[in-house]
């Protein structure tokens, strides 16, 4: 291999199981040493499989069947010695929990260099530098699992940086980061690129971070369909990139639709009492259920996760709750659902004090779409997953057939989210974006009155986000209410939403 070539793939094919559909299909690619390339593709285009193949995770640990030739700094990642590979290429995945192996932030960063038998003073220097780069130096003695999602992702990045690999692959590494975190990551990538590292950023969206790379490679159905400098590609292929869902659409909602929906919402809000009302809610972790119930309106003794939060959600309203990682958004949603003990007299569901209602009472009418879709899957097949909620609502037994209108509705929804023909597949084998859409669709089809969606756009492409936006719009038009927790409210600009900002546990509208 030419020494100026860092990564070389020639006619590579990969399937997660031998004989199954190839997710990488005859892919060829060459990346020069010191180059920064963005690999972009819609959900299911094979980009994460490509990242896994480059790092050797596939097929070594993740299994599957690979054909064709891959060289990373002159080594085949599938057969190279572990130490050689670890010191040449580092991979940061989308899910930080999938790559954190130690207890403390500092241990996490030191883990790789320790494995390579580096002397302690070298390890210390690398750990300090890596933690400084991701702004975790102050939190080096904290437990990684107590950090926010964004903090854990930064810890995962530090653990790879400490290995100082000349080639770095980041697979949707910014998916869990808020705007500030993304800016910091971008600055870090620029520094690493200037220092001569080879960078491959894998993403489903051509956003600021993706477009910072000088070269863009676009994947579709496991093949390279576009490859070249960013500016000319964007200029000449904007339409195609938008059709692939990699660029935001020109218009999101028709100009007439938003005011009409807003008027309808206002009329509904005037006519009906609130579904959910929160009055002066303050909350601190570590307080027992009894303490939380005794207290009403008073501030908790410990450090507050939430302070004096008030909001109302009426039928047919769509609320967006935005905020930085760790600001208290997920805490609020868990209190609404009774997954954390709500203080007495602070959270009301249809006029009833939620502190006196069980999770089952609340879950009868409130749905929750989890941040990690795998956590909520209950069925072995895609279609069953979608039909689970409605069948439950109709109290159908396992052997009773699903009513025809419901089946038609599910088939239409599957078509919309691009899963038609995959009804019998396991939800677990879908791509990250597909899992997310399926979980959101299942939540919205459940027939519940309020749906809480926790970071539904994390790691999805623009097409997925647009689709989600449309599903939510339709649900709201049917009178359902939505509370969407997201650090990407820009995806829903133009929709009839009310936007709330959570900042250090305090909530304000817009």
């Amino acid at each position: 291999m030419d020494p100026a070539t860092a990564i070389w793939l020639e006619n590579v094919t990969y399937a997660y199981e031998q004989g199954s559909r190839s997710v990488i299909d005859g892919l060829s690619l060459r990346v020069r040493t010191g180059e920064w390339v963005t690999v972009c593709g819609a959900s299911g285009s094979g980009k994460s499989a490509l990242a896994g193949l480059l790092s050797g995770y596939l097929p070594r640990s993740g299994g599957g069947h690979r054909e064709g030739r891959i060289e990373v700094d002159g080594l085949d990642p599938a057969t190279a010695a572990i130490a050689d590979l670890a010191s040449r290429i580092g991979l940061v995945f989308q899910d930080p929990d999938a790559q954190l192996v130690q207890g403390l932030v500092e241990d996490e960063a030191a883990f790789g260099p320790e494995n390579l038998c580096l002397p302690p003073d070298v390890i210390r220097r690398r750990v300090d530098e890596a933690l400084r780069d991701v702004e975790l130096l102050e939190r080096r003695r904290d437990k990684v699992h107590e950090l926010s999602g964004g903090g854990r992702q930064r810890a995962a990045i530090a653990s790879v940086l400490a290995l100082e690999p000349p080639i770095l692959v980041l697979d949707e590494a910014a998916a869990n980061l808020d705007a500030g975190g993304r800016r910091r990551l971008l600055a870090l990538l620029r520094r690493l690129h200037q220092a001569g590292r080879t960078l491959v950023t894998v993403t489903g969206r051509l956003d600021e971070l993706a477009l910072a790379a000088p070269r863009l490679v676009v994947l579709d159905a496991g093949r390279v369909v576009l490859d070249g400098p960013v500016e000319p590609l964007l200029r000449e292929h904007r339409g195609r990139l938008a059709r692939l869902g990699l660029l935001p659409a020109e218009t999101r909602v028709s100009a007439a639709a938003a005011p009409a929906a807003a008027a309808l919402r206002a009329a509904r809000a005037d006519a009906s009492p609130p579904l959910l009302e929160i009055r002066g809610l303050s909350f601190a972790y570590g307080e027992g259920k009894r303490a939380a119930r005794r207290r009403s309106g008073a501030l908790p003794a410990g450090p507050c996760a939430l302070r004096d939060v008030s909001m109302r959600i009426c039928p047919g309203e769509w609320h967006i709750l935005r905020g930085e990682n760790g600001s208290g958004k997920t805490t609020l949603s868990r209190l609404i659902l009774g997954l954390l003990p709500a203080p007495a007299g602070a959270v009301f569901w249809q006029g009833r004090d939620a502190s006196r209602l069980s999770v089952y009472d609340l879950a009868a009418e409130i749905g929750y779409v989890f941040q990690h879709p795998e956590q909520q899957f209950v069925a072995a097949k895609v279609l069953d997953e979608l039909l689970f909620g409605p069948r439950r609502a109709l109290r159908l037994r396992a052997k009773e057939p699903t009513p025809e209108p419901l089946l038609r509705q599910a088939a239409e929804l599957l078509r919309q989210i691009g899963l038609a023909g995959r009804e019998s597949e396991s939800p677990y084998v879908l791509s990250g974006g597909e899992k997310r859409l399926l979980s959101a669709a299942a939540g919205l089809m459940s027939g519940k009155r309020l749906i809480v969606l926790d970071e539904p756009t994390a790691g999805t492409d623009y097409a997925g986000a647009r689709l989600l936006s449309r599903l939510c719009r339709e649900a709201v038009a049917q009178g359902k209410s939505i509370l969407m927790i997201t650090h990407e409210p820009e995806f829903f600009a133009g929709e009839p939403t009310r936007i709330w900002t959570m900042e250090k546990g305090r909530l304000r509208e817009y």
Binding site: R60, A81, A86, E114, P119, P120, Y360, V378
Partner: protein, 250 residues
């Protein structure tokens, strides 16, 4: 094992000294078969858990309640099954004699002592310190030490995942399961979710460890030092001497 801020006395102590003490406690607990010394040992361990390891009474009572699920049936079965001896106590149709009751109490107390001492060790020991100490001082293969440490780190993580899976099911089910069939189905769903989650997590973690060079060499270096303080040596000496003395006396 936890890696909390080191504020409590036992958290400041190195894992090896604590392991020696744990071993001495285990030997004494296994040796004694009368309730009185075991009651005293349990009281001492409770005090150590609260004031040495910083466990709250609430946390302690939860953990003790868990072991009581196994301990109480053991107490009853042993008391009823052991051959009668000594004074007889009649409670309705049940006849209990002093010997089997004392023996059953000792067996149960022993169980509590062994469980609590292990719990104190886990609660007060940083897994990474454990790995460093076992690898450097006891010359155990680091893969083995990491295996033990990872298993103990995984337990609370899997517990948290199990809780999340159960919560997700509660929300998606939308009502309490009714009847035996639904309860079994619910339970099966939770177990399956935890099992698949555990398999996925183990696979991912193993892949991630390998990607960071784990297992590349026969030995590895550590950023942390395996230091045993003067207090640690004193604890070891005191534990071994104390245990020997008590064994000799009894």
């Amino acid at each position: 094992m936890t890696a909390a801020a080191k504020d409590d006395p036992l958290q400041l102590l190195d894992p090896l000294s604590k392991l020696v003490s744990l071993f001495c406690i285990a030997v004494l607990a296994m040796h004694w078969d009368r309730p009185l010394p075991l009651v005293l040992m349990l009281a001492l361990l409770l005090a150590v858990a609260r004031y040495g390891a910083g466990m709250t009474w609430r946390r302690l009572s939860k953990r003790m309640a868990y072991i009581a699920i196994f301990g109480l049936p053991l107490l009853l079965l042993t008391a009823l099954a052991a051959p009668p001896s000594g004074a007889v106590l009649e409670v309705g149709p049940i006849r209990l004699s002093e010997g089997p009751v004392a023996y059953a109490a000792a067996i149960t107390l022993r169980m509590f002592c062994l469980f609590l001492s292990s719990l104190i060790y886990i609660e007060s020991t940083d897994p990474q310190d454990f790995v460093v100490m076992m690898t450097i001082r006891l010359r155990l293969p680091y893969r083995f030490a990491f295996g033990v440490s990872m298993a103990l780190t995984f337990l609370p993580m899997l517990e948290a995942e199990g809780r999340s899976a159960a919560e997700a099911r509660k929300i998606r089910y939308g009502r309490k399961p009714r009847g035996f069939g639904e309860r079994v189905e619910n339970w099966r769903g939770n177990v399956t979710a935890v099992f698949t989650g555990a398999v996925r997590r183990i696979e991912q973690t193993a892949g991630s460890m390998e990607a960071k060079g784990f297992g590349a060499f026969r030995h590895r270096t550590f950023l942390r030092e395996a230091r045993i303080s003067a207090g640690g040596y004193a604890v070891m000496l005191l534990s071994v001497t104390g245990a020997s003395l008590l064994l000799w006396i009894s």
